[in-house]
Symmetry: C2
Subunit: 191 residues, 2 copies
């Protein structure tokens, strides 16, 4: 998505350790007009998949998912992250290891809001090592629902998450795939 790549080039900030900060338009300050374009693109890519519901994960996926969901005309469910040891019986859960933060947490969704047979599109801002997304996929399957697609705004193509998710057979679409980043701030995209 050219508009998004241009925005990442213009306003993204590269830090040592392959860190890309897009705080100014995606995950701290949010440009809702850009999210409308992103939602439109996700609709173009996934409308044929007959989506019943969009699933995302707190916090930075929520705005993206809500504005995309307007276009699809479906509800959003956002999974919650918890480190509580006692997981209630009325939730679906998946354990996720965060490499970024060096900790393990559970993602949970109330059983009220995921049902067998539902066709789920998972939306998130970033895909790097893929652990959160793979956790959401397991969680959807544990509900008997079908994770038909995953829509990602920015994939770090030099990490292995994208390959791991593609191996599950899910229809994965990343609107911008970063091939490499240099410490001088140069960003190359995969096309």
């Amino acid at each position: 998505m050219l508009l998004l790549e241009e925005r990442i080039r213009r306003d993204g900030k590269v830090f040592p350790g392959n860190i890309l900060k897009v705080d100014s338009f995606l995950n701290h300050q949010i440009d809702v007009r850009l999210l409308e374009q992103i939602g439109e693109e996700f609709y173009r890519l996934f409308s044929a998949d007959r989506i019943d519901k969009i699933l995302t994960i707190e916090a930075s996926g929520i705005g993206i998912a809500c504005i995309a969901a307007q276009r699809f005309g479906v509800p959003v469910v956002f999974a919650k992250k918890t480190q509580t040891k006692n997981i209630a019986a009325d939730v679906y859960t998946a354990r996720v290891e965060s490499f970024t933060h060096g900790k393990v947490y559970d993602v949970i969704v109330s059983k009220e809001f995921l049902h067998a047979g539902e066709r789920i599109l998972i939306i998130d801002d970033f895909l790097a090592k893929g652990q959160a997304l793979l956790g959401l996929i397991r969680l959807v399957r544990s509900a008997g629902a079908e994770p038909v697609g995953a829509g990602i705004v920015i994939e770090k193509g030099f990490q292995d998450g994208g390959d791991l998710v593609r191996q599950t057979g899910i229809h994965l679409e990343s609107l911008a795939i970063v091939e490499s980043m240099d410490d001088d701030g140069t960003i190359r995209f995969r096309h």
Copy 2:
């Protein structure tokens, strides 16, 4: 807002201890069509206040703020909650005591995204004891920006947060004010 009151009556769940759960449409599963109506109502109530930016707090305020922001044509900034002891120098911060969760946390916003003179509308899902909202108001003022309004979806009118916030002189609008809840599930609204 009658549509919202009807939805709370129909789908809200009352639990002992004055707990009102609106998980099915507002803060776990999200009805984006309802959020569009809520955004429209916030626009009606606050458009005369010439808003430059909408500020909310993770996680459940984000969807509400983003869809309202589409109507206003302004960006959203969401404050992050942290319990980290080391607060960076490049953020505005306010300490908040959560009565619900019995802990103290900091809300932070990067100094890049709040500027002196900006007219800020704060949006959140719930107002009860008001500590989070009062923290956001302090945070906005510490940036030299002006917290001109606060838009709340559901206020618990039997708790003192609404009075505390109104005493600050800020234009506060709550779309539904719960006057009382009974253990049998009866909800009364203030008009």
